[in-house]
């Protein structure tokens, strides 16, 4: 058979970015945000979002500065090979943890809303096989899938959210501006975490057809995500209010339970929503699976790395099933992401930039001497 040439357009990359972020963030939004400061979570979300746009643009800048280079190559040129090895290995572990967490929560939601009597093991395993298939097909298939699925996901989701607004009570959004600046700052990391996932684009950067457009596409992508999050946040908060929100595990799902149209063929839209939801979370699981496949291939210096997608399946399966229940999963993930996300989404990119600056400085010095 005839192979793909593995380059994707910036439009496709932006779609991958948006869908990856939404899949990760939609799980805990907006419950986590309102926990600390109630209705003022909206402002935390906005500030956190704008901050993330900056961080994402930074990653775009790195991709622009290293056109066509893989993440491992960028790390090697920045920090020498042994350190690059360690960072890449930790990055794989980090991706593994996020992926396993996503899959576990995915399994729990599907079990709760769709397949009450089916063992979660089967739900998890089946989705893992599909994501392995996606990873095997590489970045080009992912890019096209993201662009294809984007309208399929977004148009019905938007319509459903608008329908949900009928039940809403906008006074639930009030009172606002109650939190002190200190409280707001304390919630900011949570807001930032709901945008986790943009750091994975660093690994995909090497496949971008036009790396020079990376900063713009990263910023636009995260900006879109911010807009979508704000819509979700306002809808959910205005429907449930802070008090009720505290008791909901998956508020996004609960929104659709409130939609009820007499005369509509589908009495509750749960089925349709679940299908869309499966698509959304899959579009997070798939890319992160691919990230690991690519990075492992780079680490082991493999020419043909597509087959690395399959051995990851049992590992992910086991890790996803370690926590005993959903509460434990969230607790573990909370403490894990507190350290890991800042390191990989902010720390490593900043270090790469510093090293780039230093090497530039050295280069200039040498240039001036010569």
């Amino acid at each position: 058979m005839f192979k793909n040439n593995d380059l994707i357009s910036s439009g496709q990359m932006a779609h991958i970015l948006i869908l990856t972020l939404i899949g990760v963030g939609i799980l805990n939004l907006p419950g986590d945000l309102t926990e600390g400061i109630g209705t003022d979570g909206l402002w935390a979300l906005l500030i956190g979002g704008i901050f993330t746009i900056g961080a994402a643009a930074l990653i775009g800048y790195i991709i622009k500065k290293f056109p066509g280079k893989s993440y491992f190559e960028i790390l090697t040129t920045s920090f020498t090979k042994p350190i690059a090895w360690i960072i890449a290995f930790l990055f794989i572990l980090y991706a593994l943890m996020i992926n396993a967490f996503l899959i576990r929560v995915f399994g729990e939601v599907v079990k709760m809303f769709l397949l009450i009597r089916t063992p979660i093991e089967i739900i998890i395993f089946s989705v893992l096989l599909i994501s392995a298939y996606l990873s095997r097909n590489g970045i080009e298939a992912l890019g096209r899938l993201a662009e294809l699925l984007f309208p399929i996901i977004m148009i019905p989701a938007l319509i459903l959210f608008l329908l949900g607004l009928i039940e809403s009570d906008l006074t639930n959004l009030l009172p606002t501006f109650q939190a002190t600046p200190m409280e707001l700052v304390e919630v900011l990391p949570t807001a930032f975490f709901s945008f986790a996932g943009f750091e994975f684009i660093l690994v995909f950067g090497t496949y971008l057809k036009r790396p020079d457009k990376a900063p713009k596409l990263m910023a636009t992508g995260v900006g879109m995500v911010l807009a979508i999050y704000v819509i979700i946040f306002i809808t959910i908060l205005s429907i449930f209010g802070t008090e009720q929100l505290a008791h909901l595990v998956w508020p996004t799902m609960s929104v659709f339970k409130t939609i009820d149209f007499p005369g509509l063929f589908i009495q509750n839209v749960e089925g349709l929503v679940m299908v869309i939801w499966v698509f959304i979370v899959f579009m997070s699981i798939g890319p992160i699976h691919l990230v690991k496949t690519i990075l492992i291939g780079d680490l082991l210096n493999l020419k043909e790395r597509d087959f690395m997608a399959l051995p990851l399946v049992p590992i992910l399966y086991i890790v996803a099933l370690i926590p005993e229940n959903i509460a434990q999963t969230y607790a573990f993930m909370g403490s894990f992401s507190k350290y890991a996300i800042p390191i990989f989404a902010l720390g490593v990119p900043i270090l790469i930039l510093i090293s780039l600056g230093i090497r530039k400085g050295i280069g200039k010095e040498r240039g001036s001497r010569a």
Partner: protein, 528 residues
């Protein structure tokens, strides 16, 4: 020998065929003997040996296949000229003796299409394709006279792609008729036609047709490379070429389009695609192709855009029903009855009461029945096929419901599914969906709606990974950000004045296909 080798044959084993060449010698008898030796026990070959020249001492020989060559033409314009005119021509015997070959070639054969070959194998090849071989004494070339003519099916309306509005001519089995049908629609010197012979034994003619300044160059390189790589004993239909050259031969989706309609083929050429005309089949191949193109019908462009758009939306709905209807029925009845309105759920439950099978068995029984009916309908002769269809569809369906084996709702679902699969314009694509439908039914029985969603993802991942000669299979749906122009011809069809640019398949420097009509004011005179 490993199991793999046993199953799929050893790679090293060379295919058997003849590759050597022998020059045609000066001696006519020797040449004739060589042909006769190759064609022993071929009793449909006709040899005619004759003596011409003033003294009747110059020997010529004709060989052709009975039924494939035009006998009238041979009698009237070849033999009579050779025997009569050559004798009458020149009173000087000496000159004739030395120049008789030139005289025969230049002055006496009243044939437009004539050529000479130097090797025995080439001569054999022409002889076997229906031409006549003329051998002359003392002449080391064989003369090939184009006499191909045999009884062929006349041009008739295509069976698989009938339209209400549009041209009614369809391709036939004769290679030359087919290229003519296309050439007639494109009076452009840029229309190129390269003929290749593929198949060691069948030597099937394949024409690669394209418009030089519009064609997608990468696709052209690829198809030529892949055609050259094909080494098979016989090519009986364009289906062989399709399977041997497509990008992913494990996929259930066709990556090369086939058509019986010359207007579809010409439209594809104007869009920068490549058309392969294969001898002996009315199915012409179009490549590269996309999922979108397979859901279009030639008629769409002849009707007004609003109608075409409505029809196309209907087709996409048909794809959806064809793929998902039975599996959704299975998923909802066996896993999620709470997802439909209570009255409907109760109705379904009531209609399923007393049925001894679970929903999946019910669905499989009915789907299998309808597939068998369809297959039987194809094999049976025309009038009986229709009868069996009615008997099978109505009687079995009715009887099955009355016997309480299946629920009436299941029969309705299966019937709608079957009808929907015929609404898909491309038969190959419809077969792919029919196959996948069974996968969906199993997944629905196994994991309910979640299973259906997962398999949908799998199918979409697969479709997105497919490419047809360098063009992503799902384009323009997978690159609308970079290429919004192509969206004008998808499930919506823009009015024809709006379709000003060719699709992304065509050569990127030559995209504009019509001038902007907006500045033109057709109503100007009426108003003044």
């Amino acid at each position: 020998m490993s199991l793999w080798d046993k199953l799929f044959g050893n790679k090293e084993e060379p295919p058997i065929g003849y590759n050597d060449t022998t020059k045609i010698s000066k001696s006519l008898d020797q040449n004739l003997e060589a042909i006769k030796a190759d064609l022993t026990d071929c009793d449909d070959i006709i040899y005619r040996e004759a003596y011409v020249g003033k003294k009747g001492d110059y020997k010529i020989a004709l060989a052709y296949i009975d039924g494939m060559a035009d006998r009238d033409l041979l009698n009237r314009d070849v033999l009579s000229n050779l025997m009569v005119r050559v004798r009458m021509a020149d009173p000087e015997p000496k000159a004739i003796k030395s120049k008789i070959q030139d005289f025969i070639l230049d002055n006496s054969l009243a044939i437009t299409d004539m050529s000479e070959v130097e090797t025995h194998e080439e001569a054999m090849n022409f002889l076997l394709s229906g031409e006549t071989v003329l051998l002359l004494e003392e002449y080391d070339k064989a003369i090939i006279i184009a006499t191909r003519a045999w009884e062929a099916r006349g041009i008739s309306e295509p069976v698989t792609e009938a339209v209400i509005r549009g041209p009614r001519d369809g391709f036939v089995e004769t290679f030359r008729f087919n290229t003519v049908l296309i050439r007639r629609r494109i009076r452009d010197p840029k229309l190129k036609l390269k003929i290749k012979q593929v198949g060691r034994r069948s030597k099937t003619d394949i024409a690669v047709m394209y418009i030089e300044d519009l064609v997608n160059r990468r696709a052209l390189e690829k198809i030529e490379e892949r055609l050259n790589a094909v080494d098979i004993d016989a090519v009986l239909d364009s289906g062989y070429i399709e399977q041997l050259t497509e990008d992913n031969w494990l996929s259930p989706f066709p990556q090369i389009q086939n058509t019986e309609r010359p207007d579809t083929a010409s439209a594809a050429l104007y869009d920068g695609r490549i058309v392969l005309v294969v001898d002996n089949t009315p199915f012409v191949l179009i490549l590269p192709t996309t999922f979108n193109a397979l859901l279009q019908s030639a008629e769409d462009y002849y009707e007004r855009w609003s109608i075409a758009t409505a029809v196309r939306l209907l087709r996409y709905l048909a794809v959806f029903i064809c793929l998902l209807a039975p599996s959704l029925y299975v998923a909802i009845t066996s896993f999620h009855p709470h997802m439909i309105p209570t009255e409907l759920a109760l109705f379904i439950a009531a209609s399923r009461q007393g049925i001894p099978f679970p929903a999946i068995v019910e669905a499989l029984i009915m789907e299998a029945t309808i597939e068998i009916l369809r297959e039987a309908g194809v094999r049976l002769p025309g009038p009986i096929g229709a009868t069996i269809g009615i008997v099978g569809g109505l009687v079995i369906g009715q009887a099955a419901v009355e016997a309480g084996i299946v629920s009436p709702l299941m029969v309705i679902t299966v019937a709608i599914t079957a009808i929907s699969s015929f609404a898909i314009p491309n038969y190959n694509l419809a077969i792919g969906f029919r196959l996948l439908r069974f996968g969906f039914i199993f997944m629905a029985a196994f994991l309910g709606l979640y299973g259906v969603a997962l398999l949908m993802l799998l199918v979409m991942v697969h479709l997105c990974s497919l490419k047809s000669f360098g063009i992503p299979y799902m384009s323009p749906y997978t690159n609308y950000i970079d290429n919004p122009n192509d969206l004008k011809d998808t499930f919506v069809l823009f009015p024809l004045p709006g379709l000003r640019r060719r699709s992304l398949i065509s050569f990127r420097k030559n995209k504009v296909r019509q001038k902007d009509l907006r500045p033109e004011d057709f109503n100007k005179e009426d108003q003044s």
